[in-house]
Symmetry: C2
Subunit: 323 residues, 2 copies
């Protein structure tokens, strides 16, 4: 009888586990604010009910859905491509920012500033059709390793955020990514890794042109999806104001304010706050990458949800679940 009871208890626990919402989130302010919001807007009898067609949720990517340290992962891809293509470009040995890349001088690369980074991206993300580029990214992701963890970059996604995406989708939200990252770079892995389709991925874009049935990538920036241009990109691609916005930096602040200014619907704004120097990275106001300063003050003053990664997340990465 005792055994049976134990089995029953185990059974119940296992059942509860399987259906538990946001299992990697500790009970607390953030989890409860998310769940209250979703319950309020999906309950037909609630004054805050939102029709499914208007349940638009937008997520930043770097630092919100996966790590962005030491620097944005796409930059490592660009640098690895520079190394792979160097033999075809002897002039790179003496020209910045390529010289620093080839000498593995990260300080030199970062010193080249935004212009240098754009130069690296233009040189490595152009001259092929978008389908070829996609294959290059996918091949790279299979072998490249992250500098400080020595893991594939695709390991470094946030388990609690993946659960949040699934929870929203299960509640008929349309989940979009709105990232400063390159749209073609993200489209190479996001559909399979996050379960978000290509048409829900918004990002920075290079110029392209159409030729003979193909979209060819040119070596020029068309659109940087950051700060005040995030609402512009949302308007262009979605054409509806979101009701929920998720970010981690001042680069997401305008998109979150745009969401908050939705007069028709109850909204949710959530910042992922990088507070865990042990399991991930800790940074905010003074960081060059993922700076969160103005947004953090505003969030605290306006009752936005601010996730303390260290305290509120049971695990950061999916591989921690296997332990």
């Amino acid at each position: 009888m005792k055994v049976l009871m134990s089995l029953l208890v185990l059974g119940v626990l296992s059942f509860a586990n399987a259906t538990e919402v946001l299992p990697s989130w500790n009970e607390g302010k953030s989890k409860s604010s998310i769940m209250h919001y979703v319950q309020a807007v999906t309950d037909k009898n609630s004054a805050d009910y939102i029709a499914a067609k208007d349940r638009i949720a937008v997520f930043d990517n770097d630092g919100t859905l996966w790590s962005e340290r030491p620097v944005y992962f796409q930059l490592y891809f660009a640098m690895d491509r520079v190394k792979a293509l160097a033999s075809e470009h002897p002039e790179w040995k003496t020209t910045e920012p390529f010289k620093s890349v080839l000498e593995n001088n990260m300080t030199g690369v970062m010193k080249s500033g935004e212009h240098g980074l754009v130069t690296l991206v233009n040189a490595t993300h152009s001259g092929m059709d978008v389908e070829t580029f996609k294959s290059e990214v996918q091949t790279w992701l299979k072998s490249a390793k992250h500098a400080t963890t020595d893991r594939p970059y695709t390991d470094l996604i946030y388990q609690p955020m993946m659960e949040l995406i699934q929870y929203l989708e299960a509640n008929d939200f349309k989940v979009y990514i709105v990232s400063g990252g390159g749209i073609d770079f993200m489209r190479a892995f996001v559909p399979e890794l996050y379960g978000i389709p290509e048409e829900h991925i918004i990002g920075s874009m290079g110029k392209v042109h159409y030729k003979d049935g193909k979209i060819i990538k040119d070596d020029e920036i068309h659109f940087i999806d950051d700060k005040e241009t995030k609402p512009v990109a949302i308007y262009r691609t979605i054409g509806k104001r979101p009701v929920a916005a998720f970010g981690n930096s001042d680069g997401d602040f305008a998109m979150m304010l745009y969401t908050e200014a939705n007069k028709k619907h109850k909204t949710l704004q959530l910042y992922v706050h990088h507070t865990d120097e042990k399991r991930e990275f800790a940074y905010d106001r003074k960081s060059h990458i993922g700076k969160l300063d103005k947004g953090l003050d505003y969030a605290r003053d306006h009752n936005w949800t601010v996730v303390d990664m260290k305290k509120e997340w049971k695990v950061i990465y999916p591989f921690e679940l296997e332990k």
Copy 2:
């Protein structure tokens, strides 16, 4: 018993009617090519099966889903706005193309060419946030009447094409509009009229900027969605190559070739050919609006579907059903 049989027969007929696919299409080449295609790609046992996520269908709008004669309906909106705003712009009385608009001189307006039309659009589609613009379009559509039919513009949609959209959606296709028309103009009526959501509408765009929670329309063109830029717009917004493309002019030809060049999936290309001078308008190779010349030759040489509106459509407009 005879009565019962008759009722039964009537019942069966009525049932057949209610579930008939593409009821406003006459049996024939076009209807059968559409139905064969959809059956082939949605049958799991077919070699041509396409997973639902990849069933992307793109439709031109002007001349494909609603009429575009005497000129694009959006141009009438722009001209009506010029008249409404004329008192604030005394200089328009002596400046083309405004002068011709205010004098109801359509020949003069058309003479101003593409530059003139862009000038009219820029002047009337800017200086307000996108939500205000949307209301202006909706208000206009409620009262404006089409020049030759004296009907609301929203009456002039093609019943057979609405049935086609519904048929594709019922078969899990994601239906997008990819039009040279303005994205904000279309977003004001397409969701309600066609049942296609804002995020599936791709079109030409003016520049905009974000300010204080709003997207403000500037008086400059950002992107013209026509010919070789239609594939570019599809790539940017959808990020997948379509499997089915529907158009009516050479402006849609590149988008249809881009679709045909899909190597992974069986594709369908369909041209609506304006052959019905009595019920609608008849035009193709020599038309200034909706010119169909190169595309028509290619379509005939490559086994694309070319719909003869006069012969293949039982009705053109929904109001004909009420007769």
